[in-house]
């Protein structure tokens, strides 16, 4: 699973993307893996929305190895 980081999250992880191999999971399971890889992400969990294959996901969404998942912190365009 390809994970993308943006904005200040890149400063936390020091990378813009990573590969995560895990079995099909829900958002909770995904966050557990992400925080295990980058503990600094934990405090941003409440403000970050997840996107799967360039679309925001519903809370019950499931994620598989083939997905591109982006962590979207509060946006500030315009």
């Amino acid at each position: 699973m390809r994970i993308l980081f943006f904005a200040h999250l890149k400063d936390v992880t020091r990378c813009s993307e990573m590969n995560l191999s895990c079995a099909e999971t829900n958002a909770d399971g995904l966050w557990r893996e992400l925080i295990a890889a980058h503990p600094g992400l934990e405090r941003f969990r409440g403000s970050v929305r997840l996107a799967r294959n360039s679309e925001y996901v519903a809370p019950e969404a499931r994620f598989t190895d083939a997905d591109e998942v982006a962590l979207i912190p509060p946006v500030s365009g315009g």
């Binding site: 400063d11 813009s16 996107a51 912190p73 946006v75 500030s76 315009g78």
Partner: protein
Amino acid sequence: MEIHIQLTTERITEHLPPPSAALGAWGEFRGVVRGEENGATIAALEYEAYQPMAEREIRRLLTELSTAQPCLAARVIHRLGIVPVGEAAIYVGIAGRHRAEAFALLTAFMDRLKRDVPIWKRRAVTNLNVIEDRTPNASGHPKSGSVSAHSASEVVTLLRELCQPLATERVALAESNGRVLREAVCALEDQPSFDRSSVDGYAVRQDDAGTSFVVVDELRAGDWRPRALQPGEAVRIATGGALPGDGLQVVMKEDVRVEPGKVLVLKRDGDRNIRFRGEDAKCGQILVSAGTVLRHGTLGLLASLGCVQPLVTRLPRVLHLATGNEIVSPDQFPKHGQIRDSNSTLVQAFLSQWNIIPEQRRVAEDAPAIQSAMSHQLSEIDLLLISGGASVGEHDFTRRLLAEAGFVIHVSKTTARPGKPLIVAQRGGTLAFGLPGNPLAHFVCLNLYVRAALESWSGQFQRTDFAAGELTEDLAAGGNARESFWPARWHLTDGAVRLAPSRWQSSGDLTALAGANAIIRVRAETKQLPRGSRVEFMNTEGIG
């Protein structure tokens, strides 16, 4: 509705016609960067986006909102990268039949964009003209005023502190040549994992002193047929074959005579000719330590252990900008006053030693061109290399550029030559080097400094360092007040390292690099080094 979307690092043009002949109304909005952000005066804002999703979201929002406010066409342009104060960061144009729908859609869209479209103000650039000087002084504290010059070894020490090992990843064994292992690999079972014959011969009971044996089986390597041998019985066994049981001895086939139905032992000594289980390594024993650079020998061992996805350091992402108005691609014929760009090739080949494939661009030596080349992806890269050009005062130019992009300048003066001016700067996880444009200086700076950063990031425990060698000819060092580095060619003769120094007159002299595989360090004030002198050198082909 007709929709045009553009995410761009280019300035948004002043006059944009409606995307199609507007019927009735064409409403436009430009969001301009103001000179203040959170109460502080700023010079520019830097934007970034998750591009495919941003475009998709913009399209989705417009489509969704236009069901309530039917409009004919929309054009949305958002700037990315650095946008100076006074320039538009966003442009939205909506065409409708009447102004009411066009305005309503414009307003609703801007509200939703600020909530949902993955575009971020990455940071504010506070002042484009003031350069922050954080060059540490002897006590290691930032110092204001005059800038102190660093020796080459001080720069290397600093780089080793700045560059902590990067994150890890698992890669296929076949792709891990040259990568740095980050976990200890242990034997998962005894090596060898079974008692095996070290010769071609006949296995007999060690306690059976007889000389005539009946051959009851024949074992080749790969066979596994355990049996309890009786006195007077032998098993023919090939080298590498698994012994059928304990308490055996293998008599070499040269020491027996084969007769019909039996073998006669002619000679027998105390050697059991067995490689015993666990003789090479016990289960759990560390065979390859973390920090090892994986090369073919080690990779063969990992394969034998079934370690097919070793954990290694990820490769740094590198952006290299070769700047200069005078450079042309090597495959072009330079016009009078132009030169071929040799630094891009030098940098690319240097980095390939670590399997790093840099992104490389040749850009004119002008600030907006370079800023746009680097800004939109700066936070994604680990290493930014800027090769200076010769057409303007390259030192202040690169330094200013980096400072404007928010880098902290750690080094801006060194005492070593060639290699002036060298700049080392950092912004978050990105390390930047401003390298002097001359190829000889590139060769020296890449090997002295960039190598130190790459080795430190890689987590390898062994570092390339200076070793001793002997000059094969005189070296006229000239008594320079600064420490100097000379390209050289080293070879081994009669077990000793001999060094043939290349001569260079100016640091633009590329001919000195022909055949160079080493750098000799000559201390300051050294005048003449006669043939046979012991000198320090670095093997530029690395420690492997």
